[in-house]
């Protein structure tokens, strides 16, 4: 049924339809509307047979999900940013134990400086945690990915993280087609746990493993993720048949077939990218886009196939590896190894900075005109003068002070010292 609804409400409804039995969550912006809404749904009885734990931290949230999942319950949590980092230890534990927990990450920047707005630093910092990571382009896809995530998680007994851009999606009102309970029940069968804490058949979960078998247990995690590369497209096809809508899958190619220049991106920015692609196509330029829906596992063969005919690949990503370069870019470079293609790493949209059509168009025009060096890391719309003034201050002051405050004062938006 089509409804005009906030992204968080839509996701809360989708999660409700999946019938989680234990929800454990700790509030953090911009995830809050999702977990508030789920609390309402448990209280009103819309979501029955569900225990909602208001835990003392994100670490506690993921830990409660680990316990609940070990006891055979379908579990859910949601977090963002610092919260995801606070549960980092438990994330690795959940995946190591092979527990099919589903979590929404309302993507948000990581401090310092503290910042509540959207980028992908949080999810990217956990890319090696053993969780499957799916990125939603729209609220419709966020809804659909949650339904698919439960089926995926439980069929392989792996945890799945559904990433949706904080505020940009979580707080945006869009028309969303919410499935019926019957549809979701038919698509997501009841959980049959791979391992269960059962007094009638006691097992030891979480035993210590030394050098004798540690690598083998870890290898199984990799095997499962490789299996997910086969399973995810199958689930997406089933979803299309059941719900009449293409959603999910590994990749989202857009006019890439003959494109010489392809933009690779994740999440909500894809809409903007596609508009720029259309405009450049109208101008006779051979441009396309490749959306990454599934970032972990990394669909290396599929990405290679999709980019095999491109001359230039521009990876626009909302996070970067400080001191190294692009994160998605490194993966793309790996996927296109030995192909005659230049890969450009472009960091954009950090801490909620808008990625505009104009900026993307300028960037792509520069790339097409060979005015951009592919061997360097680029930052879209970086205020170079602001950076240089601060570097200058740092060079000359004996105690130049905090960068963030200095730079805010420089652009005139900090109270401290503004009226000196």
């Amino acid at each position: 049924m089509l409804r005009q609804v906030e992204g968080s409400q839509a996701v809360a409804r989708a999660v409700t339809l999946c019938r989680p039995q234990v929800i454990a969550a700790y509030p953090i912006s911009p995830q809050t509307h999702i977990v508030e809404s789920l609390s309402d749904r448990v209280r009103t009885g819309e979501l029955t047979s569900c225990e909602y734990l208001m835990v003392e931290s994100e670490f506690g949230a993921m830990s409660a999900c680990i316990g609940a999942s070990g006891a055979g319950a379908r579990t859910y949590t949601a977090t963002s940013s610092q919260g995801l980092l606070f549960m980092a230890e438990a994330l690795f534990n959940a995946s190591g134990l092979g527990l099919p927990i589903v979590m929404t990450v309302a993507n948000r920047a990581i401090g310092a400086p503290i910042n509540i707005w959207n980028d992908h630093s949080d999810a990217m910092s956990m890319r090696d945690s053993g969780w499957i990571q799916l990125f939603a382009e729209s609220n419709q896809e966020a809804v659909d990915l949650h339904v698919q995530a439960y089926r995926l998680a439980e069929s392989l007994s792996v945890p799945v993280m559904v990433c949706m851009d904080g505020f940009v999606l979580t707080h945006a009102f869009e028309e969303v087609d919410l499935p019926s309970q019957e549809q979701v029940d038919a698509f997501v069968p009841p959980l049959v746990p791979q391992q269960l804490l059962d007094p009638a058949d006691p097992v030891t979960i979480g035993a210590m493993v030394g050098p004798e078998a540690f690598a083998e247990v870890k290898y199984l995690m990799h095997v499962k993720q490789m299996a997910a590369l086969d399973e995810i497209p199958v689930i997406a096809e089933d979803f299309l048949r059941a719900f009449g809508r293409a959603s999910g899958g590994l990749l989202k190619p857009y006019r890439v077939e003959d494109a010489e220049t392809v933009v690779v991106a994740l999440g909500s920015v894809l809409g903007t990218v596609e508009e720029v692609v259309d405009a450049m196509r109208d101008d006779g330029l051979s441009v396309g886009a490749l959306g990454i829906t599934c970032f972990r596992p990394w669909p290396v063969a599929e990405v290679r196939e999709a980019l095999g005919r491109a001359k230039r690949v521009v990876v626009v990503e909302k996070a970067f590896a400080v001191g190294a370069g692009g994160i998605v870019g490194q993966n793309v470079r790996d996927a296109t190894r030995n192909l005659p293609v230049d890969v450009y790493d472009v960091v954009a949209g950090l801490g909620g900075r808008p990625i505009t059509r104009a900026s993307l168009r300028r960037l792509l025009d520069d790339v097409v005109a060979a005015r951009v060096d592919a061997s360097r890391l680029h930052f879209l719309d970086l205020d170079v003068e602001l950076v240089q003034r601060e570097l200058e201050r740092a060079r000359h002051g004996a105690r130049p002070g905090p960068h963030a405050e200095n730079m805010l004062r420089d652009i005139g938006t900090v109270a401290s010292g503004a009226y000196e």
Binding site: G60, S63, C65, G70, P202
Partner: protein, 333 residues
């Protein structure tokens, strides 16, 4: 049956040997139907108080729940010595996740069982003092304040023994550990630090809080069984000597646990909803020196340069406990 040698266990105490009692009056440990939840063959050190405590607690809890029990374990000695690959000593469903999250994991298990309508299955969480009073304290307090249906048991051996005997928030003053050595002007752990998690648990006004030692089996079993009669968050703090970490003889584990109580250094009590309801009185009061001397971690107090002043401060701690909890029998105070 032909001649059988009768052994009197716990000689020198007021406790009657179990084998002399009617079967119905025997302790859980003395019953043939004992669950052996933590079964033999594990790799704890000789004389390990924690292994003893865990066996006592779980067997009693298994009896109280008719075997419908799940155990959650924080990282630590108990987890390591019981599950060296490819073996497990656990004969009940058992989940280990991390060092600092045992209470939250246990809360999750309890929530799952409630959601599934399986509240007949009960949950015990267990950790050492590091996993309880330090790194797991946040999740423990959260579990308490939500009143989750979990019995959490701390096996307190007063330090990080699994990592090589370092100081924890439960290490007593003056005790030497690997990072509070007898060096400098104030040898051993400093005075004025540390915390009493039983008292903090009481401040949450949870249904039941109790302390116990591995020296008094019946008292410990009674408290476990009593804890299982409550729903909601319950806390049991068990004093478990560590021969390795304390530099004590393996044969002295029970003796030291008893001395900790008989000196007043470790008050044994029960509390319901934030109020102390019962106190285990000292039977034969002894000076703290009797407890300290057999332990190498306190050897620096009795060496070439004895520190009677430090011993006196430790005695003052015991005396304060005695006054605070009323540990002496009526008329002895």
């Amino acid at each position: 049956m032909a001649f059988q040698q009768i052994k009197l266990y716990q000689t020198g105490t007021f406790v009657a040997g179990n084998r002399l009692l009617d079967p119905e009056q025997r302790s859980v440990q003395a019953r043939t139907g004992r669950s052996n939840s933590l079964t033999s063959g594990h790799r704890a050190c000789r004389g390990c108080g924690e292994a003893l405590g865990a066996r006592y607690v779980l067997d009693a809890a298994m009896r109280a729940t008719d075997g419908n029990l799940v155990a959650v374990n924080s990282t630590g000695c108990l987890e390591v010595f019981s599950t060296p690959y490819p073996e497990s000593s656990w004969q009940l469903p058992w989940l280990h996740s991390l060092f600092g999250n045992g209470p939250a994991v246990a809360a999750g298990v309890a929530a799952a069982l409630r959601a599934q309508g399986r509240e007949d299955i009960r949950v015990v969480g267990q950790a050492g003092d590091g996993g309880t009073v330090d790194i797991g304290f946040g999740t423990l307090s959260g579990m308490f304040e939500r009143n989750d249906d979990v019995l959490f048991v701390c096996y307190d051996n007063e330090g990080y023994m699994n990592t090589g005997v370092q100081r924890s928030g439960a290490t007593p003053p003056a005790a030497t550990t690997a990072n509070t050595k007898a060096l400098g002007g104030t040898p051993g752990n400093v005075f004025g630090q540390g915390k009493s998690v039983p008292l903090i648990a009481m401040a949450h006004e949870i249904p039941y809080v109790a302390t116990a030692t591995v020296a008094e089996l019946r008292d410990l079993e009674y408290k476990v069984e009593k804890a299982m009669t409550f729903r909601g968050a319950r806390y049991l703090h068990v004093f478990v000597p560590c021969p390795l970490g304390w530099g004590a003889a393996s044969a002295d584990t029970v003796k030291l646990a008893r001395l900790a109580k008989e000196t007043g250094l470790f008050p044994v009590f029960e509390a319901e909803a934030g109020t102390v309801t019962e106190v285990s009185k000292i039977r034969r009061q002894v000076p703290v020196e009797d407890y300290l001397r057999p332990q190498k971690r306190f050897a620096h107090l009795f060496g070439d340069q004895p520190r009677p002043d430090v011993v006196a401060r430790l005695q003052a701690r015991a005396d304060r406990n005695i006054a605070r909890f009323g540990l002496l029998p009526e008329g002895d105070e």
